[in-house]
Symmetry: C2
Subunit: 509 residues, 2 copies
Amino acid sequence: MSGIQRIRHEGLKNKIMSAEAAADFIQDGMTLGITGFTGAGYPKALPTAIANKAKAEHSAGRSFGINMITGASTAPECDGVLAEAGAIKFRSPFQSDPNLRNGINAGDISYQDMHLSHVEQQIRQGFYGKFDVAIIEASGITEEGKIIPAMGIGHANEVLKACDKVIIEVNDAQNALLEGMHDVVYDIGMPPHRKPINIIGSFDRIGTPYLECDLDKIVAIVLTSASDRNSKFAEPDDVSKRIAAQIIDFFDHEVKAGRLSKNLLPLQSGVGNVANAVMAGLLDAPFDDLLGYTEVLQDGMLDLIIAGKMKTASATALSFSPDALQRFNDNIEFLRDKIILRPMEYTNNPEVIRRLGVIGMNAMIEADIYGNVNSTHIMGTKMMNGIGGSGDFTRNGFFSIYVSPSVAKGGAISAIVPMVSHHDHTEHDVMFIVTEQGMADLRGKSPSQRAKLIIENCSHPDYRDMLRDYYDRAEALSKKLGGLHTPHILTEALSWHQRFVETGDMRIK
Amino acid sequence: MSGIQRIRHEGLKNKIMSAEAAADFIQDGMTLGITGFTGAGYPKALPTAIANKAKAEHSAGRSFGINMITGASTAPECDGVLAEAGAIKFRSPFQSDPNLRNGINAGDISYQDMHLSHVEQQIRQGFYGKFDVAIIEASGITEEGKIIPAMGIGHANEVLKACDKVIIEVNDAQNALLEGMHDVVYDIGMPPHRKPINIIGSFDRIGTPYLECDLDKIVAIVLTSASDRNSKFAEPDDVSKRIAAQIIDFFDHEVKAGRLSKNLLPLQSGVGNVANAVMAGLLDAPFDDLLGYTEVLQDGMLDLIIAGKMKTASATALSFSPDALQRFNDNIEFLRDKIILRPMEYTNNPEVIRRLGVIGMNAMIEADIYGNVNSTHIMGTKMMNGIGGSGDFTRNGFFSIYVSPSVAKGGAISAIVPMVSHHDHTEHDVMFIVTEQGMADLRGKSPSQRAKLIIENCSHPDYRDMLRDYYDRAEALSKKLGGLHTPHILTEALSWHQRFVETGDMRIK
């Protein structure tokens, strides 16, 4: 079933047009709600058409720039082409495209890095101002004009409501059997008229499988036939496997002590290779009937479900490598009643995460000796990708676990530093730091107690003496100044980053 | 009704003993759950008895130290005497006593500074280890042996359950009419068996007015007759009034724009003089039928209720000046059905705060030009009081507002700095910074946009040029290095604090 057949509503067929024609609805200065979440569910054709329009306008000496609020990161053919064309003025809440990142770090694009759980409610509350056009990807439209989402939902439900005009890309490369896998609640309401969110079990359905909007808002439908980004994951390497093994050992210990049941608690896994490796490690771990309650479902979690180790999973997007996409499509009949896709306001909601007791596992750029975590900035100033949902799960989860190899850039960067160069998750929120060197359990510990654990358990041997030296001298100085709660040498706290900027190496030569 | 008459359960009368005798149940190395929340509801007699025991043990050359988990801060006759006696080994989650603070900053006491919403669940989850003895203040005990809390609840419900032994101080200086004002839910459950918290309106009752525990656990009852700390608030000064006026103007603007209703949304107000002044300012503001959903109810909110401007308020503790306590007692018949006291797990719960859309207003030590806030540390190393519930409300509230005079110590310290010396609330969480100079609305803004607003609107004129100069040079440097998302000069970011440590003044002489 392809192309126009995916649009089962007769009237809406009249709205089909080319991406170039649809791009006419986009004007300079508009605020667009564009779907897309970690390389899934983003529009494939409109962005290029808008980028071309921007280039033409710029060539004609006219200004053209949009404010663009997505679910999360998209792909080269969305964020990439728009950034490259200089078409983005403001961007939120998460991104990972090289062109876009360069634009942000060159100061050309204003970027607000937001917790994903806050995005939908802040749109509704008007904190981003008026929304003009929603551009969303769908895998089809029903007879009644209901929209069948594709591989991700993100904030689609909210922007459909917030925007005056709606453009839908119907992508027939998406599996038609996605229909029915989504669970959309249209409106969580505005305070003081809100009710509890009725997700009691991680797989509870509380909505309908479709997105909806006033059909009069739909000004254009564009037909596409293109796969999602589908980047390949790295095969778990030795470092990732050692990180995964420690987390699994810890879970095992907790199960044996009776503090966790044998199916653990619902698992969240951040994006990227290391987080994916932890999921892969669970394939051979002694836990069964696992549950997923996560933002992005990647290869690792998919394979747990296919292998029968994970019973069900809830996410807002499916982000697969090409091989995993093949496995997903091959097994979709089996998977259809084991995976739910929800709006990000539900997958990342503090109420639900806390109630379910989700185990949050996320990658970090660096942690400091007191347990503060930097997820976003390189050397304090350069934006990498953004905080995404890591804060939602860290702050509200049963356990909050941060993972990273202990060094990067061939040893020139230590993931454990005296003070992180940017703070995304504070000492109050982070419970575990794990590197291939070991694990530090920070629960119920003072900063000094944490520092000793993190240095001894997690830092790379090349940096351990440097960290011990920093801590000892910080302690001696802070003793003199009466500040022994969190010993620091203010003139040195960020010196490792400065040294890297100057010499390309955090180590003292 | 005084002394023994407050204990209506016949059997429990046999447990009455002196504080000194009850202190015999406390042994070296024990973990104690001691009630107390911002100078209310803390035991008045046991701490001194334990402190004396500690001194005697230390004199005899024996070690004696306890791990002490409270609701929040207590008072000189609790935290103060225990710290002074060297009886505290570990302390969490919040404190404000000078002796205790000195012990923490001298490195003698390990202190974990925790979000208050996390404390009860982390006790239940076993993250603090085994609990031995609960020491709780009550205003009485019913015929059935149910415990009538006093002016605060905090974590009392949880420690009664977690501890093997319970010691109750029955304080007949507390108003007997407090009976019925509390709303206690005994058990929120453990994941994966949790249900939604059924607080839909800020004043909903979902529990019973009493605390309960297995009566066999009660090993001692001590009679006391002493008032809570009741420190005086400063009269709102000109600076506080200017801060309050701006917040009220903003609310007024939002009401006129139709984005807030005339009774706003439930208000949370942090502790201290400035927060109290904001509440005092609302007395003359054009809002009616206000609602309170806060952690600590202070003089300002009490006066709003007495004046008929605030309809109802929910809190976990009542923290009054001596005059306000008098007004509370004089009006308790009127106030009894307008104030609810709940456990801190409910007042500070992310689920409820987010659902209700609470407006969070908290004091800060400093903010940086990007909107990161330090609530806890002086010059990066010295603990002041702790994060308390500020993070719970900041992270989950409809608005998160931070207030401070723009300078402290006669102008020697700027509350706006290039980089905060400790991060408690990140750029992702903070929506408004307010000083007497002005207000910065950070919603939907990139770091550079925020920096300009905070410098121009909030900083003190004495520091404004210094901040502009820092930002301009940071921008120039970061442009060269390709890090214009969050421009910083790593070698200078903390130099203002360093200068203060060296010269006693952040200004360049």
